[in-house]
C-alpha cells in the first residue's frame, strides 16, 4: 500500500470523509493548507453552515457566512474557506432560472414555496453538491477540498445525485445531478480521502465506508488516512519493571509516600500508552486486511498522535506538513 498515486495532489476535487470524531475536519483543513502551500489556488468547503472547518482554518470561534462569500485564510496564500447552505444554494439556483428578484423574494416567503422545499427534501442538499461541482469546475480554483459529513451521511450525500437523476424528470436538476455524478466518478479529477482512527469501531466503519465508496463510484477511497496513531514509546519490559517497582513500594507501605505515588502514576500513564499503541498496531493490520483490494497501490497514511494541551494552528500546520510528505 505504499507508493502514492502520483496524480493525487493534482486532482481538482478532494472529498474528505470519515467517522465523526476521527479528525475529518482537521485532515480537510491540513490538506487545504498543503495544497495552498504547493501554490494551488484552493477553496476549502463544508456542506452545512456552522460546521467546524472555518474555525479550524481561521481560528477558534471564527465562522464563515453561510452561503458565502469565501473568506481568505490569513497566512495561507491562495486559500479561502466557504460554508455552504442548502437553502441559500437553492434560492441562488432559482434566481438564475427566474430573472425577477423582487418577485422571487415574495415567492420565497409563500407557504407553497416552503412546502415545495419540504416536499422535495433532497433539493437543497443537491443544490449544495451542485455548488461544489460548480466551484470545482469553473476554473477559479485549482483545487477544492470538501469536508464531507460523517460517513453514513456522506455516503448518502454521494449517493444522492444519482438518485436525483433518477427521481427528477428531464429538467435542469436532472442534468446538473448527472454532471455531479460524472465529476465524482472521474478518478482523474476527484480524490476521495477516507479518514479513520486506529480503533475498533472507526476501523469497522472505515472498512464499510471503503466498500460503500467502491460500490457508489466504481473505485474505493484513493487515500486512507489513519489519524492520531499512537506508537510504542518504550519496551514492554521497562513498563513491567516500573510496575513491579511501584508495586513493591506499595507493598512496603510506601505508596502514599512521594516516590511511591509518583511511580504508580508514571506506571499508570505508561500502561495506558502501551495499550493504545498495541491496539493501534492491531487495528491498522485489521484495516489493511479489510479494505477493498485496489488494482493499483493505495496510499495508507499514518498521522501521529499529538500530545498537546490544545489543538491550535501550530498543531494543524504540523499535521499539514506530515500529510503533504505522505501524499506527495
Amino acid at each position: 500500500m505504499s507508493g502514492a498515486e502520483p496524480a493525487l495532489f493534482a486532482r481538482r476535487l478532494h472529498v474528505v470523509l470519515g467517522k465523526g470524531g476521527a479528525g475529518k475536519t482537521t485532515v480537510a483543513a491540513a490538506l487545504a493548507l498543503a495544497l495552498a502551500r504547493r501554490g494551488r489556488r484552493t477553496l476549502a468547503l463544508e456542506l452545512e453552515p456552522w460546521g467546524a472547518l472555518p474555525a479550524a482554518l481561521l481560528g477558534p470561534g471564527r465562522t464563515a457566512p453561510p452561503g458565502g462569500p469565501p473568506v481568505r485564510v490569513p497566512g495561507a496564500d491562495g486559500l479561502s474557506v466557504l460554508s455552504l447552505d442548502g437553502r441559500a444554494a437553492l434560492e441562488e439556483y432559482l434566481a438564475s432560472a427566474v430573472p425577477w428578484r423582487a418577485l422571487l423574494s415574495v415567492v420565497f416567503a409563500t407557504r407553497v414555496y416552503r412546502a415545495f422545499v419540504v416536499l422535495a427534501p433532497g433539493l437543497p442538499e443537491l443544490m449544495t453538491l451542485g455548488k461544489v461541482r460548480h466551484e470545482a469546475e469553473r476554473g477559479a480554483w485549482d483545487a477544492v477540498v470538501l469536508d464531507a459529513p460523517a460517513t453514513g451521511h456522506a455516503l448518502d450525500a454521494l449517493r444522492m445525485p444519482r438518485a436525483a437523476a433518477e427521481t427528477f424528470g428531464a429538467g435542469l436538476v436532472r442534468h446538473d445531478a448527472a454532471r455531479i455524478v460524472r465529476l465524482l466518478e472521474d478518478g482523474a479529477r476527484t480524490a476521495i480521502h477516507l479518514v479513520a482512527l486506529a480503533e475498533e469501531m472507526p476501523v469497522a466503519e472505515a472498512i464499510e465506508a471503503d466498500a460503500g465508496i467502491a460500490g457508489l463510484l466504481g473505485r474505493p477511497a484513493d487515500a486512507v488516512i489513519v489519524n492520531r496513531v499512537r506508537g510504542r514509546r518504550f519496551a514492554p519490559e521497562a513498563m513491567a519493571a516500573l510496575e513491579a517497582a511501584a508495586a513493591a513500594r506499595a507493598g512496603r507501605g510506601e505508596a502514599r509516600g512521594d516516590e511511591g505515588a509518583l511511580l504508580a502514576a508514571v506506571a499508570a500513564c505508561a500502561r495506558e500508552e502501551m495499550a493504545w499503541a498495541d491496539e493501534a498496531a492491531a487495528e491498522i493490520a485489521r484495516l489493511r486486511a479489510g479494505l477493498v483490494p485496489a488494482g493499483t497501490a493505495r496510499t495508507l497514511v499514518r498521522l501521529p498522535f499529538r500530545f498537546a494541551e490544545t489543538f491550535d494552528r501550530a498543531a494543524l500546520a504540523e499535521v499539514s506538513l506530515a500529510l503533504e510528505e505522505a501524499l506527495v
Binding site: G20, G21, A22, A52, L94, A97, V98, L103, V106, T110, R111, V112, Y113, R114, A115, F116, V118, L119, A120, P121, G122, E125, A150, T151, G152, H153, D156, M160, A163, A164, E166, T167, F168, G169, G171, L172, V173, R174, E200, M201, P202, A204, R233, F234, A238, L242, A245, A261, L262, L263, A265, V266, C269, A270, E273, A275, E279, F307, E309, T310
Partner: protein, 376 residues
C-alpha cells in the same frame, strides 16, 4: 440512565456514544427490567458494540443471548434485553403498511418520488426514527428504552422531525398538490407562486410534480393518521419519563461540538439529565520537574533490572509529561463545559480503558464505571 423510562443518548461521533448507550441498557436488564436498545445511527455500530457480526441486527428487535454478555463481564440479564437498528427502506415500508390502506399501497410503493424520498433524502431517517421510538414507547412490554442517536447536529434533527412530518401533511398543502395536475391557477396561492412553481417544475423536471401530486392523492386519506403519529412522537420526546444524556470526550473538537449541541437543545427548549465525559484522564497531581521524575524512574528501573532497563527512563518520563499536558488541557475544557451547564446537571467523567476498548468488553467496562451514576 436516570431511572426514567426512555433514555436518548446524544453526542458527536467518535465519543463512544454507542458503548455508553449499550451499558445502561445492559444494567437495566440486569436489574430485571425488559429493555429495548434502538440505534438510529445510519452507520449501525450497535452490532459491533454488542459483539455481533455487522448486519446481525435488523429492524426487528432481537433478543440478546445472555451467554456472551456474562462472558464479557456484564451482570447477567434478569429480564429480556433486546436490540434493533433502524433499517431505512424497511422501516419506511413498514410505516406505509401501517398507515396506507392496502388497496392503494402498490401505487404508493411504485411512485418514483416516494422511492427517492424513502431511500435517499435527508430527513427521512429522522422521521422514521422518531416514529419507531414512539411505537416502542407505546408498548408497555418495554420497561426501559435506550436510544443511540445519530451524531450531534443530526440528533437535533430528531426533535424537529415531528414538526416536519406535520408540515409535510399540512392540509392546505396536500389539497394544493392534489389539485395541481389540473393545471389551473390554484386559488389562494397567488399568481406569483403559481408562476414560480411553473418555473420550478421546468427546472426540476415535469414529472416531479405529477409524482408528488400522485403520491398525495394516494396518501391524502392517511394524512390524519400520519399527523396523529407525529403528535405522539413529539409527546414521547418531551415526556417527563424521557431523559436526554449528552456524551462527549474532553478533546477540543468534541467539547466545542457538545457546547454547540447544548445551545441547540436550549433553543428547542429541551433539558439534559446528565453529561458523560468519556475518556477523561483523572488529574495528575505531581509538581516535580521532569528531570527529577526521570531520576526517580531511572533509580526504580535500575533496582529492578539494571542498566538495560534504565535506558527507558527518558521515554517513560517523556510519556508521563505528555500525559500531564493532556490532562491539563482536558481539565480546562471540562471547566468550560461545566460553566455552560445549568446547576444540578451531573457531569460523569469516565477514564479511558484502552485495554478494553472493543465490543462487549468495552460495554462491560463502561457499565462498571457508570453503575454508581445510574439508577436503573
Amino acid at each position: 440512565m436516570t431511572g426514567r423510562r426512555v433514555t436518548i443518548v446524544l453526542g458527536a461521533g467518535g465519543t463512544g456514544k454507542t458503548t455508553v448507550a449499550a451499558a445502561p441498557g445492559a444494567l437495566a436488564a440486569a436489574d430485571g427490567r425488559a429493555t429495548a436498545l434502538l440505534a438510529i445511527d445510519p452507520a449501525r455500530r450497535l452490532a459491533t458494540a454488542l459483539g455481533l457480526a455487522t448486519g446481525a441486527l435488523s429492524d426487528d428487535l432481537r433478543l440478546l443471548d445472555p451467554g456472551p454478555l456474562a462472558a464479557a463481564g456484564l451482570p447477567p440479564p434478569r429480564a429480556p434485553l433486546r436490540a434493533a437498528v433502524l433499517e431505512r427502506s424497511r422501516a419506511w415500508n413498514a410505516l406505509v403498511e401501517r398507515v396506507i390502506p392496502e388497496a392503494i399501497r402498490p401505487r404508493v410503493l411504485a411512485n418514483p418520488f416516494y422511492r427517492g424520498l424513502s431511500q435517499t433524502f435527508a430527513g427521512a431517517h429522522e422521521v422514521l426514527a422518531i416514529d419507531r421510538l414512539a411505537a416502542l414507547a407505546a408498548d408497555p412490554a418495554h420497561e426501559r428504552i435506550v436510544v443511540d442517536t445519530p451524531p450531534a447536529a443530526r440528533a437535533v434533527d430528531l426533535f424537529e422531525a415531528p414538526g416536519r412530518v406535520a408540515r409535510f401533511f399540512d392540509r392546505t398543502v396536500v389539497r394544493w398538490f392534489v389539485h395541481l395536475p389540473g393545471g389551473a391557477a390554484v386559488r389562494g396561492t397567488g399568481i406569483a407562486a403559481d408562476f414560480i412553481l411553473r418555473r420550478l417544475e421546468a427546472a426540476t423536471g415535469a414529472s416531479t410534480f405529477a409524482a408528488i401530486a400522485d403520491l398525495f392523492a394516494a396518501v391524502g386519506g392517511a394524512a390524519g393518521e400520519v399527523r396523529r403519529r407525529a403528535a405522539r412522537a413529539a409527546r414521547v420526546l418531551c415526556d417527563s419519563e424521557t431523559a436526554l444524556v449528552l456524551v462527549t470526550t474532553p478533546e477540543d473538537a468534541a467539547v466545542a461540538g457538545a457546547a454547540a449541541l447544548l445551545e441547540r437543545l436550549r433553543a428547542e427548549g429541551l433539558g439534559l439529565a446528565a453529561v458523560i465525559v468519556n475518556r477523561a484522564h483523572p488529574p495528575i497531581d505531581v509538581a516535580r520537574p521532569r528531570a527529577a521524575v526521570e531520576a526517580v524512574i531511572a533509580r526504580a528501573l535500575a533496582g529492578e533490572g539494571g542498566d538495560a532497563l534504565r535506558a527507558a527512563a527518558p521515554a517513560l518520563a517523556a510519556n508521563f509529561a505528555d500525559h500531564q499536558t493532556l490532562a491539563r488541557g482536558e481539565a480546562r475544557r471540562l471547566e468550560r463545559l461545566r460553566a455552560l451547564l445549568p446547576a444540578g446537571i451531573p457531569i460523569v467523567a469516565v477514564p479511558p480503558f484502552p485495554a478494553e476498548a472493543s465490543g462487549l468488553r468495552a460495554v462491560a467496562a463502561m457499565a462498571r464505571r457508570l453503575e454508581d451514576a445510574i439508577a436503573p
